[in-house]
Symmetry: C2
Subunit: 293 residues, 2 copies
């Protein structure tokens, strides 16, 4: 039985940056984050051990050091934090911040805005706060309303899949005179999605590691499960032997907010289940899938 890891698995640039910013700030406690810093409960627990506490409600924070989560916060939450005398450390992913900038630009130029994303996700909630005019959020091409627009701005959640964005634009072309698309799907997202799909094509089981609340991880699971049986787990403890046994080739992929040590633990647990006592210590020791499609 072979186990292969999808290239680009694990932390993306924005997540690495947010953790680094948080750890630097942790030297001067008390430090809070607005919502979980990243969508990985295990990593958030690790950060809590270092004194970084998660606060859900910005109203509760006064005169503290507050780290803005990688997904960003709304304009209104930011104002509350400042009004209450907090010191803000911004760990918003620069690609997410870029989307805010585009939303503001489209708003200033009076474009109605269509956002492709999950309206309950904090990234989209924050993005929405920068859209002051007519705004529509759809989570999939199926939700596209049958309108005609003179002009329309389109932005997507950074973790959307390219196929859905293409489908939306394809449907919009005959309905919009001027279509202004800011493709805000981040490179890290596309790379992880492509690598996961390529690996799924050659495996009889895919294991996607990442927070059940992580949008980009869930998208990897969705895309992979369209190709081969796929299981999403947060930790190795969720792995049941009966799922592993009898498989020829198992692929591992991990979301952009999944720390390396969780990937290593899953790899070693699969080995253990199959009776193989050799283990790896680092994610660099796991064989990586080299084929691109």
């Amino acid at each position: 039985m072979e186990i292969l890891l999808a290239p680009y698995s694990g932390f993306c640039f924005g997540v690495k940056r947010a953790i680094q910013i948080a750890l630097e700030a942790a030297n001067k406690p008390p430090v809070f984050t607005t919502g979980p810093l990243i969508h990985n409960p295990q990593m958030v627990q690790e950060l809590e051990k270092k004194g970084i506490k998660v606060m859900e409600n910005p109203d509760e924070l006064h005169n503290s050091t507050v780290i803005i989560r990688s997904h960003g916060i709304t304009k209104q939450e930011n104002e509350i934090l400042l009004r209450n005398g907090n010191t803000i450390i911004d760990a918003t992913c620069p690609f997410v911040a870029k989307a805010h900038e585009y939303a503001q630009r489209l708003t200033q130029e009076h474009y109605p805005i269509l956002i492709l994303g999950d309206h309950t996700h904090p990234e989209v909630e924050a993005l929405l706060s920068y859209c002051d005019g007519e705004t529509i959020v759809i989570s999939s091409p199926k939700e596209l309303p049958e309108f005609q627009w003179q002009r329309l701005g389109v932005i997507s959640q950074t973790t959307m899949d390219l196929a859905s964005l293409r489908e939306v634009i394809n449907a919009l072309i005959p309905c919009v005179k001027e279509l202004r698309l800011f493709n805000t799907i981040c490179t890290a997202t596309s790379q992880r999605q492509e690598a996961t799909v390529a690996l799924a094509k050659k495996c009889d089981l895919m294991i996607v590691i990442g927070g059940h609340n992580s949008s980009n991880t869930r998208m990897l699971t969705k895309l992979s499960s369209e190709i081969t049986p796929t299981l999403q787990i947060e930790t190795a403890a969720e792995l049941k032997p009966e799922v592993i046994m009898g498989k020829q080739r198992i692929g591992i992929s991990a979301g952009a907010s999944t720390p390396d040590y969780l990937i290593v633990q899953v790899f070693n647990r699969i080995k253990e289940i199959t009776g193989d006592r050799t283990t790896v210590k680092s994610v660099e020791d796991i064989p990586v899938n080299k084929e691109e499609s």
Copy 2:
């Protein structure tokens, strides 16, 4: 044997308007047009009989009345005409003029521009004169260069097919951060294309009537010939009996610059070939295809 006409066949709004403008101007000869007013040699001959002469080179015209053709002319040609003391009557199709406006806007805002269209067509030549910065013309999705753009404006020739525009945009989405599409394919074009395709699906021969130099007619021929045997002709004289005989259902479609009398002549000629002596006098008497797809 049945003969059906595709809905929307013949003159579009822009062509009707250009002819009306030209005929009104013909009351005060000498009157010239810059290139053929529309891409239909037979209709242009009719206009010549009324004293409207075609001039290819704007340099030759001084102190005359000049009608700008439906496809528009370049900014430079317009300047020459004015410098030489001509009186300009603008019969540019308003949808084409709109595309010039979009090209100017994109140029002013420093977008590189991609034009989907035939770079040898007068409409595209005129459009290009309004693009002062980096500009690329491609006639089909296959010619799309493999670039990455920070921002890109896209405009199409008004007679392009929607499928090609969609294919181009689909390919561009991952290569462009900000894609600003002005969908300048005119409604008349889409309607004629859809009606022709719908009719072609139920016929064993399609006859598309229109100028061999007419871009929108050639596009109808292209789309129809992908479905069923298709013949493009300018006049009934081109119809050979052996092409008609033995057919079950013949479809007729006509470009946006084809006058009604040419459609009537083709219909009557088919009837004549098949030995049917009943003729129609007006295009309104020809049975129209009612199915949409």
